[in-house]
Amino acid sequence: MSRLLKQPGIAAPAAMLLLILLLALAGPWLTPHAFDTIDFEADWGAAPSAANGHWFGTDELGWDLFARVCVGGRLSLAVGIVSTLVSLAIGVVYGAVAGFVGGRVDALMMRIVDILYALPFMFFVILLMVLFGRHWLLIFVAIGAVSWLDMARIVRGQTLALRRREFVDAAVVSGLGTAAIIRRHIVPNLLGVVVVYATLTIPQVILVESFLSFLGLGIQEPATSWGALVNDGARAMESTPWGLLFPAAFLALTLLCLNLLGDALRDALDAPALRRMAE
């Protein structure tokens, strides 16, 4: 870990992300204003001011933007992390099984992945949201469930390579069952790939959530997300620019740091398979 942190380009984005995470978690306690209480006294859509405690200003409904950016950050980060975990869980198991078992099972499983690749999956997410309403749990699961395909492919490729290694042969010879080998020998060795890939999936998932917010299918008010805030802000970017500026800055900075971190980790681990991830 400490070796990793010394690599170029890792410490800075990691520290930044930590800072943003801390602010999102602690922020609501720092301000006197609640994220879901309308300030009927203050001007609505007012510019940032230290005097009335609306540090980021208020939005067009008299909501405190600072509190909302923090609370929205919690949701966006949670969506990013939980959905990525869902996609990892499915993708790692699926890819490891396909790669390890091989043969016809592998061919069939990868055929299925190919078929799923041809589905315009974003459309299914939209349909699901339209169908079942906008429950936050559903957002997590829907996004996670449709974004495991890449993971499955990469893990399968890695597993194929691992299978030819001696320690796996040794495990097979010693009579260990398939499930046990996958659990004990394959999955732990996939960790590097998985970490890098997860770092790069989180920003994509956060963007998907913001896309749903754009279509009006995002989180239910008064809860919010960065995507929803940015979307509201973009509508009034000329009259109340701070409404766009603050949430957009947090969103962009988080996505940027995650991407930088992912790239740097990939360079650091320098496994050729990682670089060919998009293949």
Partner: protein, 538 residues
């Protein structure tokens, strides 16, 4: 593989991409002398005058068709295809005299029979028109709509080419205004026989359809066969679909539109500051309210509680701070400006805010709710920025004034409509009624027992009696007082919580002349002119 070959491959790929690119792009439309470009909101679902129900379709259809009567730029009823009419003394028969020499856009003669055919078509269940009920006062219409009689039995006759006689079941002073509606347009015998086809129809309005590219633009050109074509000055009208109001505003500012369909409420302050002279805000026959489901807990049998919720809402805040002045506060249902009607504002509306709150708290407590045991209620609205903002603010007001715990539920439109109709899961829900005709009955009927859109489930025999009385009397004053008494009774029961009255809001470029605000928000392109400066040709 040889590098040279590769280069040729990639080169030809690039060339074919480019060729495809150029071929696909339609030629830049040649600019005609005078073109009016109108932002039209949602894409019209149809241009069949008897079937289309949307506001955007209506805007186009009024240019493509002309009814017996019409609406002047300032909103008055005027003769259109009919030059005059005569009402029989008992009020049960109207005889229209058509203008001489009327023609369809293809040059065919337009006769009274075509108008009769249009009315028969709208009530015929085979047409599946959403407006069939609107013409229920015409003799036989109800029986036809319900399939008990053929459409040929409708009480309309054309004794000669220029005369149309309409018989009524009961006196209906509002019928003349209804005949200005596109649903009462004549229908050409060729279109009567043909299956539905978009845009191919023959019209009798000041314009005819040139081209319709769905989601892109609807192009109309002037109809030389129109009887009053000499008075038309704009040669070409383009309707552009503009669903996203912010995008529409930007296109208007970039001078790509002459008239917008609306303006985004969040931008009102900016618009007033920068485009104030071009903003037209006018009273409009629409009411925005929250329905309360009176068939289920917690609102069943609780008129006091329902009134408390209504009193707890500060409408001035909603109108001024949320809608930025682009609406009028509502304490009652039928909007001001409705013909032959005085708005029925409850007495508490004039009280100071503090007194309203005290009374609201008293009613709330009387219904059995306390701080420890507050009312928990779900407030449903369909996905839209403005609905969301209003719901959020109302929830905050209910919470602040009474301690009500509100759960906001944003539903997608079709889900929302179905839930409202079923009245099972709904408690409080957003609702809107926009009148089809300038008549208080159009609003009042919504809360009758049998109205299909009575989503509150309101059922009050006294209310039904007042409305029945209003329907049966011919005398305008008696009708008016019956309708007003009905609304007073309804407001006392509070099956709905009025919030605001709509305003029509448009941005209109200074070069567009002859634009008048009117309560129906009907603007015929034939009545507009374009004032083109030599420096900025149209």
């Amino acid at each position: 593989m040889a590098t040279g070959h590769d280069r040729r491959v990639s080169g030809s790929v690039a060339v074919s991409c480019l060729a495809a690119l150029l071929l696909w792009i339609p030629a830049i439309a040649a600019t005609l002398p005078t073109t009016l470009r109108i932002g039209n909101g949602n894409e019209p679902e149809s241009l069949d005058p008897q079937r289309a129900t949307g506001v955007s379709a209506g805007n186009v259809l009024r240019d493509l068709y002309e009814g017996l009567t019409g609406i002047s730029p300032t909103g008055e009823l005027i003769p259109a295809a009919a030059e005059s009419w005569r009402l029989r003394e008992d009020g049960l028969e109207i005889t229209f005299r058509l203008r001489a020499g009327l023609r369809w856009s293809n040059g065919d003669a337009l006769t009274a029979r075509d108008f009769a055919a249009g009315l028969r078509r709208v009530v015929d269940p085979a047409t599946a028109s959403g407006y069939a009920r609107m013409f229920g006062v015409i003799a036989g219409a109800t029986a036809i709509a319900e399939g008990r009689q053929p459409a040929s039995m409708l009480g309309v006759e054309a004794p000669d080419d220029q005369t149309l006689v309409i018989r009524l079941d009961r006196p209906a002073p509002q019928l003349l205004a209804l005949l200005a509606h596109p649903a009462a347009s004549p229908v050409h015998r060729l279109d009567l026989a043909a299956a539905t086809k978009p845009g191919g129809r023959i019209g009798n309005g000041a314009y005819r359809l040139q081209r319709w590219v769905v989601q892109s633009q609807l192009e109309l050109v002037r109809n030389p066969a129109y009887w009053n074509d000499a008075r038309t000055t704009i040669d070409r009208v383009v309707y552009l679909p503009t669903e996203d109001l912010n995008s529409e505003l930007k296109r208007y500012r970039a001078d790509e539109l002459d008239v917008t369909t609306s303006v985004p409420a969040t931008q009102a302050a900016w618009i007033r500051a920068n485009l104030g002279a071009e903003l037209h805000v006018a009273t409009y026959l629409g009411s925005y309210f929250y329905g309360l489901n009176v068939t289920q807990a917690p609102f069943k049998g609780q008129p006091g509680l329902r009134r408390a919720l209504s009193m707890a809402i500060d409408r001035e805040v909603i109108v001024n701070k949320v809608l930025n002045g682009l609406a009028a506060p509502a304490w009652s249902f039928v909007p001001p400006g409705t013909r032959d009607y005085t708005p029925q504002v409850p007495a508490w509306a004039a009280w100071p805010r503090q007194r309203q709150l005290i009374e609201a708290r008293r009613l709330y407590a009387a219904a059995g709710y306390t701080e420890a045991r507050p009312l928990e209620v779900e407030l449903r609205y369909n996905t839209s920025d403005d609905h969301k903002r209003i719901a959020v603010v109302v929830a905050a007001m209910w919470k602040q004034a009474l301690g009500v715990r509100v759960r906001l539920v944003n539903e997608e439109w079709k889900v929302f409509l179905q839930n409202r109709k079923l009245r099972r899961v709904t408690q409080a829900f957003r609702n809107t009624w926009i009148a089809d005709a300038n008549d208080a009955m159009d609003f009042a009927a919504l809360l009758t027992r049998d109205h299909p859109r009575n989503d509150s489930g309101y059922d009050n025999p006294a209310y039904e009696q007042w409305l029945a009385a209003a329907t049966s009397v011919a005398q305008p004053l008696a009708r008016r007082s019956a309708l007003q008494a009905a609304e007073r009774a309804m407001l006392d029961d509070a099956p709905i919580v009025p919030i605001y009255f709509y305003a029509s809001k448009h941005l209109v470029k200074p070069r567009v002349r002859g634009w008048h605000d009117n309560i129906l928000d009907w603007h015929y392109s034939k009545d507009l002119r374009l004032n083109c400066a030599p420096s900025a040709p149209c």
